[in-house]
Each structure stands twice: as structure tokens, then as C-alpha cells.
């Protein structure tokens, strides 16, 4: 582990809030990995579509790098192995819920093994734009057994911090619409036949996912963040928590010119 970038906080994963010994993995470790080899920090940003995650990840990456931390990012559908295949499946709507859930699991574990674990081993900070919680929530709202989904992600790493950017579905709708001037098939959960009205379908689907996040948040101690506020306000709150975790003294930050447009 590079000394320079080593997070100063006590390596969590040793003890949880109640002082019990816990593993870095939820259940069993990935075959071939030992708990003690996993260093670094894993920080997750979760939230529904339009909750502002990606913007915050971009800003946080810049801030952390300016503080001298090496950052690796991950997200959904970014694996070498199956990202393209999932894109194809989604484009063709020719996939059943179970298959899709398992393809996403493959995508997740491929990134975990080939991107996240190597990064954590070399002491980097990993920022995850969505994590297993989105995948669990999506499966559960589609009628896949909750414990099945949790069992599937037994070999996932426990994050050090999980922020939940909580926004109301109607705010999410406005943001998504502003972004792409249309609402996508999957963002509105149209595979679930909730409503033939796209807007209603979006609101219902996102509300169901949000409800599932609330359940997950109780189980996995999310840090809830009001995502309805401005980008600088949300960033400030998240930054302070991360600074405390990594032992960064100053939380002052102004985005560079390249990112100034996101700062409003």
C-alpha cells in the first residue's frame, strides 16, 4: 500500500459501530482473497435516477485528487466482461428479470475483482456511482426474493461510507427530463407494466425503488443526504463526512474551470 495515499482513519472492517469484529466482505470473501489484503477506502453514492450522484462523483474525484488521494471509480455497466452485452439486452428489451439481475451481478463482480479490489489493495479511494443496493432494490421491486438478492451479493465488500442521495420522484423526473428531454424505458420501469402513462409509470417505479432504499438504509446504515438541495450544498455535506473519514483537515473546495458548470 502506498504510504502517501493511505487513509488516516483506522482501517474499518475490523470493528463495526458496536465494536464487533466484522469482515470487509458481507459474507464470505471472494475465492482467492484474504480480508487483510484489502486496504483503501470504499465510498458509495447511492440514489435513484436523477438524484445527482454522477455530478457529485465528478466533483469529489477532483477534490480528492487535489488532496493527494488516488481515486478509482466504478459504476453499473462498466465491466469489460459484460457491459456491452447488458447494453444490448436493455436495448432489445429481450430479457427476463432474473437473467438481467444475474447479468448485473456478473458486471458487478467483474469490476469488484478486476478494478475495485486491485485499487483498494494499492490503497486507493474507490468512489462507487451506485453499488449493490441499487441492484438489490431493482430486483426486489421486480418480485425477486429479497434474501435471494442479498445472498447473491454476499461476496461484495462492505463500504466504509454509503451516502444515500434522497430525492423525491418528482424532482428526479424534472432533472432527468432536463438532462435528456425524454424519459427512458428502464428509468420508468416500463418492463413492470405499472402504467401505460409514462409519467405515472416513472413516478410509481421510482417510488417503489425509493421505498426499497429506505428498507436497505436501515439494514446497512446509509448516510442519508437530502439530494433535493443545490449541488454545492450537497457536496459540502458529503465532503465533510469523507474528510472526517479520511482525516483530511480542510474541507474547502472550489471546482476547477472545467467543472464550474456543474457547480450550481
Amino acid at each position: 500500500m502506498s504510504r502517501k495515499n493511505k487513509p488516516k482513519s483506522t482501517a474499518t472492517g475490523r470493528k463495526n459501530g458496536r465494536g464487533e469484529m466484522t469482515s470487509r466482505f458481507y459474507g464470505l470473501p471472494i475465492p482467492g482473497y484474504k480480508d487483510e489484503e484489502v486496504g483503501g477506502s470504499l465510498i458509495v453514492l447511492e440514489g435513484t435516477d436523477g438524484s445527482g450522484r454522477s455530478t457529485q462523483i465528478t466533483l469529489l474525484t477532483e477534490w480528492l485528487e487535489s488532496q493527494g488521494f488516488a481515486v478509482q471509480t466504478m459504476g453499473l455497466r462498466r465491466s469489460y466482461l459484460v457491459a456491452e452485452d447488458i447494453d444490448d439486452l436493455l436495448a432489445n428489451n429481450a430479457v427476463t428479470r432474473m437473467t438481467l439481475a444475474l447479468m448485473y451481478a456478473t458486471d458487478f463482480y467483474d469490476q469488484l475483482e478486476h478494478r475495485i479490489l486491485p485499487a483498494l489493495r494499492s490503497g486507493m479511494v474507490v468512489l462507487a456511482d451506485r453499488y449493490i443496493y441499487t441492484l438489490i432494490a431493482r430486483g426486489v421491486v421486480r418480485g425477486i426474493d429479497r434474501e435471494y438478492m442479498h445472498g447473491l451479493y454476499q461476496m461484495a465488500l462492505r463500504p466504509h461510507l454509503t451516502f444515500w442521495l434522497n430525492v423525491r420522484p418528482e424532482v428526479a423526473f424534472e432533472r432527468e427530463f432536463r438532462k435528456s428531454h425524454a424519459i427512458s424505458y428502464w428509468e420508468s420501469g416500463r418492463d413492470m407494466s405499472l402504467s401505460s402513462d409514462l409519467f405515472r409509470s416513472f413516478i410509481r417505479y421510482q417510488s417503489m425503488v425509493k421505498k426499497e432504499f429506505e428498507t436497505l438504509g436501515r439494514r446497512h446504515t446509509f448516510v442519508p443526504v437530502d439530494g433535493g438541495r443545490s449541488v454545492p450544498e450537497v457536496n459540502q455535506e458529503v465532503r465533510e463526512r469523507i474528510a472526517a473519514h479520511l482525516g483530511i483537515r480542510s474541507t474547502r473546495y472550489r471546482p476547477s474551470g472545467a467543472l464550474a458548470a456543474a457547480w450550481r
Partner: protein
């Protein structure tokens, strides 16, 4: 704001969550020996070269010639994961976990779109390899058996499982004499058992066989001696199939014109 509330509140759609069939169900309904569908599932398992495919082929021919309503399915990669599997194998990036998940995704597709609907439609489904192949092979690769059992919880349990067992040397020599070029993953080279492919294959098959042996009792395998003469073994297989599965249920009705018309 009231407009929004009116739209968000008629959310009792969320109660549909409980009514919607939750997915890993078929196995759970099985505890009392009954199935939630009129079809039946017969599977063969065993290591490569144990004679299982030949025997299932002969059973299938017997039933086909008799005009039984049946469908044959194999544990093969379908179009769905072909490109991903190819990509992973070429670059040797598949790990025990992603290897396992890709096969599970592929099987889920076959299960949801083929096996389960056929069972619901009253077909006799014959499967050359089934979930026990994944349990044996992926456990040998280092995956946790509990994780695997959960992963395949959506699969309907077989009504009858034949386990073809031949001494390791016999089975391995059958394969090695006929197919000198073993593929990397097929030979279990990813496990680092030996630099020699044939030797690696031998050891890997031995590990898989131990896993099959371990499952034989708990999963109600009917153990078949793969060294017996082909026709004698087939006679025995047909007898057992007749005893354990209500085959007449799948036989064509002599006079039923409607029945005949509905057959493909």
C-alpha cells in the same frame, strides 16, 4: 404540490409486490413432493466421459419414437452469454465467481423462457446436465456451496436425477483418447493444478467427481454404473424412469384429436 401528492398517493400498486409471483419460488413449493406445474423434469449428471449424454440420448429416442410430449435441453452457453463467455475466455479474465454467474445468467434465461413454461405446459423435460453441474464444478473452483445453492434457487427441482458414475481413469481416458485438445477452462487450467493440460483435466475431474459424490445422497441422485454395457444400462434407466415418473401422463392420447392438433 397537491397534484403531485394525488399522483404519488395512489401507490397501492406497491401492494401488488406481495401478489406478484416472487421468483425463486418453484423449489420452495416442492417440500411436500408436489409441483406447481403438470410437467416433469428428468436430468442426467456426471463428469465428462461418464456416459450420461449417450444414455439420455437413448432415453430421449425411446420416448420420441413413442410419441411422448418432451423437450430436450442442454447445459450449454446460449446466444445470450456467448460473446461475454468468449471475451472472458480469450483474455482469461473469468474468475470462479464471474464464470459461475455467467452460467447462471444463461441458465436463468433458459429456465424462465424455456424450461419453466414447458413444465407449466405439461411437457416432459429432459436435461443433459443441470444445476448440479454448476454446484460440482464451481465448488471445485472455490465458490461457496451456500452461495451457489442460493444462486440457483429459482430453478425447478428435478423429479428424477440420474448420476452416471464411472471410475475417474475410465471416464478421463474416454475423453482424452477422443479429444486430445482440451480447452483452458475445460481443463481447469485457471486453478493452477498443473502445467500439463491432460494432468490438470484429470485432477479437476476428480475434484468434480468428489463433489458429485458428496451431493448424491442429499439430492436424491439415482447412481448409475457408467461401466455397464450401454444397452443394459439403458434398459435399467428406462425402468427407473417408468417407476419414478408418471410417463403415461406425457403419452399421446389415442383418439384425442384436439390433443393431437395442439401438439407442435
Amino acid at each position: 404540490m397537491n397534484v403531485w401528492e394525488a399522483l404519488v398517493n395512489p401507490l397501492p400498486t406497491m401492494q401488488a409486490e406481495e401478489e406478484a409471483p416472487s421468483l425463486p419460488a418453484p423449489q420452495l413449493l416442492k417440500t411436500d413432493g408436489t409441483r406447481p406445474y403438470p410437467g416433469a423434469l428428468i436430468v442426467v449428471e456426471g463428469i465428462d466421459g461418464s456416459g450420461k449424454s449417450t444414455q439420455l440420448y437413448l432415453l430421449k429416442r425411446w420416448l420420441e419414437i413413442g410419441g411422448y410430449r418432451l423437450h430436450f435441453t442442454e447445459w450449454n452457453s446460449s446466444e445470450l452469454v456467448k460473446s461475454a463467455t468468449k471475451r472472458g475466455k480469450q483474455s482469461r479474465l473469468l474468475t470462479p465467481v464471474t464464470f459461475s454467474l455467467l452460467h447462471a445468467a444463461d441458465f436463468a434465461d433458459r429456465c424462465e423462457r424455456q424450461i419453466l413454461p414447458l413444465l407449466q405446459g405439461g411437457y416432459l423435460v429432459l436435461a443433459d446436465r443441470y444445476i448440479y453441474t454448476a454446484f460440482a464444478r464451481d465448488t471445485a473452483r472455490g465458490c461457496s456451496p451456500e452461495w451457489l445453492r442460493n444462486l440457483y434457487r429459482f430453478a425447478p427441482l428435478p423429479d428424477l436425477t440420474f448420476y452416471f458414475r464411472a471410475p475417474l481413469e475410465v471416464a478421463v481416458n474416454r475423453i482424452l483418447s477422443g479429444r486430445p485438445k482440451l480447452k483452458y477452462y475445460e481443463a481447469g487450467m485457471d486453478l493452477g493444478l498443473s502445467f500439463d493440460r491432460a494432468e490438470s483435466f484429470r485432477v479437476f475431474q476428480g475434484m468434480i467427481m468428489s463433489e458429485y459424490d458428496r451431493m448424491a445422497e442429499g439430492d436424491n441422485f439415482v447412481v448409475m454404473d457408467g461401466t455397464q454395457q450401454v444397452n443394459k444400462l439403458q434398459k435399467k434407466m428406462r425402468e427407473i424412469a417408468g417407476e419414478r415418473v408418471d410417463l403415461k401422463h406425457f403419452r399421446p392420447k389415442e383418439k384425442g384429436r384436439a390433443e393431437r392438433a395442439s401438439r407442435p
